[in-house]
Every structure is written in C-alpha cells, then in structure tokens.
C-alpha cells in the first residue's frame, strides 16, 4: 500500500493524489469506463492509488443490516485514512454509501461502536477522509477539461441524468442542487454540446426494482425517454447507463445513452468504437452517429 507522507491533506484544495475507488460494477461489467476514467484523471495531473477496498457496500447489505453496512463502509474509509488519502469514486452507489456513512460517523458514539468492530481487523477510523466522485473532480477542473476538447461536439443536442445516488439526500452528498441539477449540463456544454432541459430530469431509473416490477419500471423509463428532445442522454452513473440501455431494448425506443466519460472521450477525439459504442451501448441511432461528424462553422 502506498503511504503518503503525513501532512497538509486538509489544507490542500488542489489535491493531486487520491485513493481510487472503482467499486464493483465498473471494474467487472464496464472495465472500459474504468480505463477511460483512469486515463483522463491521470491526464489532469492527478495520481490514483489502488487500495484494498471492497464493495462500498451497496443497499443489499444496508437493507439486511444497516450497522454491518456502516462497519464495512467504515473499513473502506479507514483504509484510505491509513494511507492519508481522500477517495475518488466512479460509481453513484459507492459515492452515496461512502458519503452517507461518513456523515453518520460524525456521531461519536456510533463511531465508537463501529471502531469496536473494526478492532477485529486492526483498523480504526477517525473521520478525516473526504469522498469525491469523478464528476466533482471534473467540475473542479473545468479549465483543464476544456483543454481536452479536440473535437467540440457542437452539432449534438444532449439531455442529462445525473443519477439519484449522486444527488440525494443532498444534505449528505453535497453534489448538486437535487431538485434542479445543473453540473452535468455544464460539464456537457464545456464539450461543445447544446444542452436541452426536460421535466423528468430527476426521475429515478428504477434499476433496484426492475427485476421484480418490470412493467412499472418500463413505464417510468418510457415517460422519461418520451420527455427528452435531444440526440442523446448523458448519464453520470454507470448503473443508470446499463438500465437505460437495457430498458430501451425492451421498449424499442432509440435514444442513445452515454456515460459522461464516453462523451468526454468523443470530444477528445476518440471514435465511437473506442468509447465502446459498438460493444457496450445497446441502443444505436444513425442520426446521432451522423451528428458527430458535423462541424458547426
């Protein structure tokens, strides 16, 4: 494990080094997103350190036993703390879990209880780690991000869906305005896109209940897709990415869904093939593909 020298982590706003928390879904199901994320973040001049993290853990553990969920999350936080690093996340769920656990652990009595469990594996958490999602890092680095744009996507109209687990509860996550999120819009317009607002922007993708209530969830996805007047939907969460691809395959609608990291790739000059459009994306759309080749004078 990489041990950074003790020191000014707290004061340094322009941190150059993070404990990298890719989660489960992205490394296992969407490794290309991990690859693109690592490359872009490194190109921002940020160093990523891999650590012995486990699943954040997700809501399946939280639903089973909230205390164990907190202990397991605290273990991850403690590992980063031991390396004197803050955490950079890729996934919505990880971000929510770690940020929420971190907030809950401000309760000293609860922290004491959790640390008693962590004693079993010789780690302790003192509550000093901060968690940042990759979109937050991009948002802070807007100027540098502009430098990545080699092929402005000026003909492309997009709408955005940030993802519930990045937005809510905003008092804990402090990511964006939960009722009217704008950061992903701004990050998309930096890449040249025209951003189109829509009314169901904060509607959940429904993935957690998709297996058991398929028709209901399809209904909600249809409502959202029909509401969007753009060439593509840009999402901030990998789970939502998979869900909107999968659901549309059943609905037979054809709004391309791209993760922001893919959009950034396109603006940086990557081909559709290179951002996984042919391998990962299930929804293809000719009009969208053609728009990528139009340069606005």
């Amino acid at each position: 494990m990489d041990e950074q020298k003790a020191g000014n982590r707290e004061e340094d706003n322009n941190q150059k080094k993070y404990a990298f928390f890719p989660g489960c879904l992205i490394p296992i199901r969407l490794p290309l997103f991990e690859k693109l994320s690592r490359d872009f973040v490194t190109n921002l001049g940020v160093e990523l350190i891999d650590m012995d993290f486990t699943c954040c853990p997700n809501y399946n553990i939280r639903d089973r036993n909230r205390f164990l969920w907190l202990v397991a999350a605290a273990r991850n936080l403690a590992i980063a703390e031991r390396g004197k690093l803050d955490i950079l996340t890729l996934c919505g769920e990880c971000t929510q879990t770690l940020k929420a656990a971190n907030e809950l652990l401000k309760d000293k009595i609860l922290l004491l209880k959790v640390n008693k469990e962590l004693e079993k594996i010789n780690v302790q958490y003192n509550g000093t780690v901060k968690i940042k999602h990759i979109l937050e890092l991009f948002y802070e680095s807007k100027e540098k991000l502009t430098g990545f744009v080699k092929k402005p996507l000026e003909a492309l109209k997009v709408s955005t869906h940030t993802g519930c687990h990045l937005l809510r509860p905003s008092a804990m996550l402090k990511f964006d305005d939960a009722e009217n999120p704008k950061k992903l819009d701004e990050l998309s317009s930096i890449l040249g896109c025209q951003v189109i607002d829509y009314s169901t922007k904060t509607l959940c993708c429904g993935v957690a209940v998709f297996a058991d209530y398929k028709d209901s969830v399809l209904e909600s996805v249809k409502e959202k897709i029909n509401d969007i007047r753009a060439d593509a939907l840009i999402v901030g969460c990998a789970t939502c990415f998979l869900q909107y691809n999968k659901a549309q395959l059943i609905l037979k609608t054809d709004l391309p869904v791209l993760h922001y990291i893919q959009l950034l790739g396109l603006a940086n000059g990557f081909s559709l093939e290179e951002i996984g459009y042919n391998s990962i994306n299930r929804i293809k759309n000719k009009a969208f593909e053609e728009k990528l080749n139009i340069t606005v004078p």
Partner: protein, 146 residues
C-alpha cells in the same frame, strides 16, 4: 381496524425513534417512485403503521422502494423516510420476511468483497484493456455474524 401491538411498538420506537417526528404530511408519498409507478406503496402509511405497532408493516412490500431517496430529500421534518424504511427492512430480515434472492445478493458481497462474481471472462476483458486483474477478497468476512 388496526390493533396496537404494544410490544412491537416499543421495539420499533427504540430502534427508530425518529418515527415520532413524522407529522403525516404526505410529502414523501407525493415524491415516491414506488407509489407512482408500482403502486400501493406509501412511506407515510408505513411510518404510521410502525407508530401504531402494526406488524403488517414488515412485509416484502418494503422492497418496492427504488432507493431513489426523494423522500429523504423532501421530508420537512427530517424523518429520513428512506432510512426509516431501511431500518424496517432490517427488522423484517431478522424475522425472515424478505424477497427470496435477497440473502444471496448480500452473501456474495460478504464472501467475495464484490457485488458481482468475477470469472475468467472479466479478467480477460480487463487484461485486453491493460487493467490489473481482480480477485475475490476475504476482507469482509469479519462482518459475517449479521
């Protein structure tokens, strides 16, 4: 008519004291994904049921929640209905009331450290991209006794 189960009521209020803050305004219901799309699901009524000590609130229905957190966001009383429902799920699981595949999903995490199984294909895909191999981890086994 709901019969108050005082024993259950006491237990629930001990574990979830924030229930008492709910003034039954229904903001959570009007924000709720499950109520709107799946139907017959009201966080407000679950909270009322719990306050009454009605054991019927412990049902598989709790898993209609899409975890969208809109209720937590909007509740004017800081009840955090999503968290309350999670705590009710915890009690339901202890009483063995939960969807069938539920334990399996969380077992995988505790056993392997990951939410999904890792097979050879996963690592072949990673290798092709120049990413490091990943392996199941035993690091979470210490939380097993849950």
């Amino acid at each position: 008519m709901t019969r108050i189960n005082f024993e259950f009521r006491k237990k629930v209020l001990e574990e979830i004291p924030e229930l008492k803050k709910c003034f039954q305004c229904g903001t959570c219901v009007s924000s709720c994904y499950a109520e709107k799309y799946i139907g017959s699901y009201s966080p407000r009524k679950k909270i009322l049921g719990a306050l009454y000590g009605d054991k019927e609130v412990l049902s598989k229905e709790l898993w209609k929640c899409a975890t969208c957190n809109a209720c937590d966001e909007r509740c004017p009383q800081g009840v955090n209905p999503y968290e309350v429902l999670t705590k009710l799920k915890n009690i339901a699981v202890r009483e063995n009331i939960c969807p069938e595949s539920f334990r399996e999903k969380s077992d995988i995490i505790i056993e392997t450290g990951y939410a999904f199984l890792i097979d050879e294909k996963v690592n072949n895909n990673r290798k092709a991209l120049g990413l490091k191999e990943i392996k199941p981890k035993e690091s979470l086994r210490f939380v097993k006794n849950g």
